[in-house]
Symmetry: none
Subunit: 265 residues, 2 copies
Amino acid sequence: MSDNNTSTKFRRPPKTQAADIVQDSPAIILVEPQMAENIGMVARAMLNCALTDLRLVSPRDKWPNPRAYKTASGADVVIENAKIFETTADAIADLTQVYATTARARDMTKDVVTPRAAAAEMHTFIDQGTQCGVLFGREAVGLHNDDVALADSLINVPLNPAFSSLNLAQAVLLLGYEWFQDTVERPDTVDEVRLDTRRANKQELQNLFEHFEHELDNCGFLGYADKRPKMVRNLRNMLNRARMTEQEVRTFRGIISGLVNGRRV
Amino acid sequence: MSDNNTSTKFRRPPKTQAADIVQDSPAIILVEPQMAENIGMVARAMLNCALTDLRLVSPRDKWPNPRAYKTASGADVVIENAKIFETTADAIADLTQVYATTARARDMTKDVVTPRAAAAEMHTFIDQGTQCGVLFGREAVGLHNDDVALADSLINVPLNPAFSSLNLAQAVLLLGYEWFQDTVERPDTVDEVRLDTRRANKQELQNLFEHFEHELDNCGFLGYADKRPKMVRNLRNMLNRARMTEQEVRTFRGIISGLVNGRRV
């Protein structure tokens, strides 16, 4: 989790060039962010999710800001390409579909969607050539109603209703995460890590079973005739569940021999 | 996003009492966390997602720590209930299904699942009374292979492969977020039918490992000092994958003794 390699397979080729990404991923618009450190953390979260179009509406701290670079942890490309606007309206002028993130129920008639649903919608919009963006409010107070009114839909993150407050970068991360998941080919399960070996085939397992049971007969472990068939089935089930590699089968057979040969020492 | 009200509907009533939550949600285990501030941020992310069972393995900073309270932003209940352990094995002794978060492909044969798939599995396990937990490594270097070997499966977060490094609290947040989202759609089954027994917990497995390795040392199978650590990890991985019942653990220990005691005949 804390280093840079993954073996994830992608439906689309991963895009790490800012120029590519900006064209077909949502803009993240921070409205009046107060602390440059938070903008840096947002930049990092964005690049984690292959988002690079960062827009700042009237940031309080001067921009560009070295404290943002520090907390961006290497996501400099996002910081360097950030655009500054005076008003929210200016920042979203070139976009067509805009979401406003808010935990508060507003006195407005607007769709409310989860990050997951918003991500799916945005992929559809962007595939059709419709540019999208997401508004995030300032750290303590969120978005003003005037900003929310500019958006097409609200995004509400389902979280513990007794403790739902996220910091700015975490809110961006969850939205970006859902966006990125929707670009990845997601096997429900797995994909196992198997280097330089392969799963044992059934013949190899059968040979292991027979070797194992032979030695268990020899030492008397399977001695009670009436229970033997059930015990053998249970052992085979257990070994099958381990989905052993052929290397592991050989190791396990070596172990059986090792334990048995100890007798001769 | 930054205030406390949501209008989200939940299939289950939200649970905000720590006593309720601890019983039926996964444990979050931080292995050798370095900074108390990060533990506080993890506590906050956990409570956002209604998780409260925080376990710390050998934290570097003294505990409890006022800097953790500060960054927890009110998630004091998580901090106050955090438990301290000396080893990872101790911290997971009462758990049955354990995941290790890692970005690196390990030289081990283990399932790799996404946070979403892990969340779905854990809901099913916990509904069946099987206690679950997730291991997170220390900030810079992640988990050691010896910790990973204690886990049943790996969790890998699909993120921008060119920039996938998350901080600790963000990694916990993504896992917790998926846990919390998974209140609607769940796979019908995950595990095998198990009658009249239960899965072995980690303490029972640990005892088995030690018994097994003791006898393998005795018979000389683990005799080459330089290869021993890797061989031990591989064996533990293989046995973990078998997801043994406590009955099977007892049987397997009986087999080891049977093979060894055969020497005296």
